[in-house]
Amino acid sequence: MDRTPQIKFPIPQEELVFSGHTACPGCGAVLAMRYALKALGPKTIMVIPPSCAGVIAGGFPVSALNVPVLRIAFETTAISASGIRAALDMMGKKDIHVLAWAGDGGTFDIGLQALSAAAERNDNIIYICYDNEAYMNTGIQRSSSTPEGTWTTTTPASSLKDTPKKDIIRIMAAHKIPYIATASVGYPPDLIKKVEKAKGIYGTRFILIYSPCPTGWRHSPELTIQIAKLATETGVFPLYEIEDGEKYSLSRRHSKKPIKEYLSLQGRFRNFTEKDLKKMEEKVRKEWDYLTRMAG
């Protein structure tokens, strides 16, 4: 009897991220990049602003990526992708994908204006934000993606972040772009399927990938996948898609694991109080209600 486990969803073999890159052990961001590029394939041009992703990709004369990369100013990721798209279209190279790749700081904060403008024009680009919920490359400073009650170097224990994580997905949905998805490095087949789906759609496509950061989240590198899965299982980071800003579909049922399990593995939540926990549980419950209602 053949005992080879059945692979339900084969992950493409081709590696477009070389080994020898400079990511930290257990980095979620580089996994996100590896899976996304596997889904997109070699006919992809990538734009990366200053970020961990930029450091991982390297600098002339070396590159960790087997696709052409433009390293560009922090706040210009989306418009740079649009500029490349415009040039490719004018030069008759319509079969090449343009991938804008930025972190949460580059997306939620400094890059939001250019991203909103590209989405409003429905420029034909794929924008992926790997979300590690703070400015990790500059040393763990809070971004507007940092959740309430989190420690960072600019929200120290005596003054933890006291406002909720910005809801970038609803901001993007308000632009009525053709495709939005959340994905996680904890679920590679789902992530790859979403990027492949995005590949076949015309217009601005936005994917937010949950990418744990052992260095900034203060957890052991081997826990990256476990934490990523827990984020989804506890409902903290739900996985879903939105088409045309309106059609919601949930990718995974929420198994309602206690949020405490997720929090307890990460040093950044060390100062979380019972009150903070109650607040977070309430937030997760409300968001889940909203998503199930929207998904019908």
Partner: protein, 381 residues
């Protein structure tokens, strides 16, 4: 064909003739007519280019950079605050060695808010690695835009073509627009260069230890720029019958005093110079057309015999003075001959620089024994 058009229209028709493939621009007074015309050319199909309606000048320059690094011929236009907003990306454009052409309609920088002509916006970008031209007429604007594409594609450095807000941008003049065939003889399709390419993946825009080498290569290209600009101007003269030089000198040879300026102030200076000539006073005029890199040789040559130079700056660097004056002083620092340079600030924020103002500048300079403090002309009482 001759057309009566504004400076902004001269820019737009020149861009139409140069056939860029990607244009990204954002409206700002007094440049907006350029954005409108180019968007219309692209919409009607007169110009086969993608026009990106960006949300800021910062994004306009970012789009041009990305399109250019992909291999497309690109153009944008801005003014004043818009240029200041682009500042960060001006460095990216030159550092990536991209042949981007930009028209800048000179306007005063806030605060206080002011819409009118002032060269401080572009002169304060002099360290960003862009070549800078300053024009005096609608025809020169048209011709310089065409030349700029040739120059930038040869040097792999971006070129900024400046025209003063309202004085040039909104003034209608007869401008000769050559046949498309003639333009293309002078400005063929862009030569191939190394670009983002999925067949040959490479990394653009990042390095560590080699940074200084990249900067040195930029320096070498800038060193070549003066010769390339002169050659391109000579070829333009041969092909299309008009040439401007890098500086324009008027009656400088045995002048008692030389007025030095950029842009349209030079036109008024020549009119006043003719009046003085009738009185037996020899006034020369030297107009700086190429400011970056500053053509040292031609400037020294034009100024070689004059006993006095009066520099009229329609720009101001606080704590320093007129920018042209500082640059000209720096040129003479290593010359054997010491020429007294008299500094005048005039016409800021679009204040008229009248013939009378220029007469006073000449008389004051002729009377003075040695240069003193900077003189501000046109201050309201």
């Amino acid at each position: 064909m001759k057309k009566v058009i504004s400076g902004n229209q001269a820019v737009s028709y020149a861009v139409l003739s140069a056939k860029p493939q990607v244009i990204a621009a954002y409206p700002i007074t007094p440049q907006s007519a350029i954005v409108e015309m180019l968007a219309t050319f692209c919409a009607t199909g007169d110009l086969h280019a993608k026009f990106i309606n960006v949300e800021s000048e910062h994004s306009a320059m970012a789009a041009c950079i990305a399109a250019s690094v992909t291999g497309a011929r690109t153009f944008t236009a801005t003014s004043s605050q818009g240029l200041a907003l682009m500042h960060e990306l001006l460095h990216y454009a030159s550092g990536l060695r991209l042949p981007i052409v930009m028209a800048n309609v000179n306007r005063a920088l806030a605060s206080p808010f002011n819409l009118k002509a002032d060269l401080s916006d572009s002169l304060s970008q002099r360290d960003t690695g862009w070549l800078q031209f300053y024009c005096e007429s609608g025809q020169e604007v048209f011709d310089t835009i065409i030349q700029a594409f040739r120059i930038s594609e040869e040097l792999l450095l971006p070129v900024m073509v400046n025209l003063e807000g309202f004085i040039l941008s909104h003034t209608y003049e007869a401008v000769e627009i050559p046949e498309q065939k003639e333009i293309e003889r002078f400005l063929p399709s862009p030569p191939p260069r190394e670009c983002l390419d999925v067949e040959h993946p490479s990394m653009f825009g990042s390095t560590t230890d080699l940074y200084i080498n990249f900067r040195y290569k930029m320096h070498q290209a800038m060193e070549k720029a003066e010769t390339v600009c002169q050659d391109v101007d000579d070829q333009f003269q041969r092909t299309l019958g008009r040439g401007y030089g890098l500086v324009q000198s008027y009656e400088c040879d045995d002048a008692d005093i030389i007025l030095l300026a950029a842009g349209t102030i030079a036109s008024s200076c020549r009119v006043v110079a003719d009046r003085f000539a009738k009185k037996g006073v020899k006034v020369g005029v030297l107009r700086i057309r190429l400011f970056r890199p500053l053509p040292k040789g031609p400037i020294c040559h034009a100024l070689k015999n004059t006993p006095k130079i009066a520099v009229i700056d329609r720009d101001f660097s606080p704590g320093c003075g007129g920018i042209l004056a500082q640059e000209v002083k720096a040129i003479f620092h290593n010359e054997n001959r010491k020429v007294p340079i008299y500094e005048f600030i005039a016409g800021l924020g679009g204040r008229d620089v009248t013939d009378e103002d220029i007469e006073r500048i000449i008389e004051q300079t002729l009377e003075a024994k040695e240069p003193g403090e900077i003189t501000w002309t046109g201050l309201l009482k």
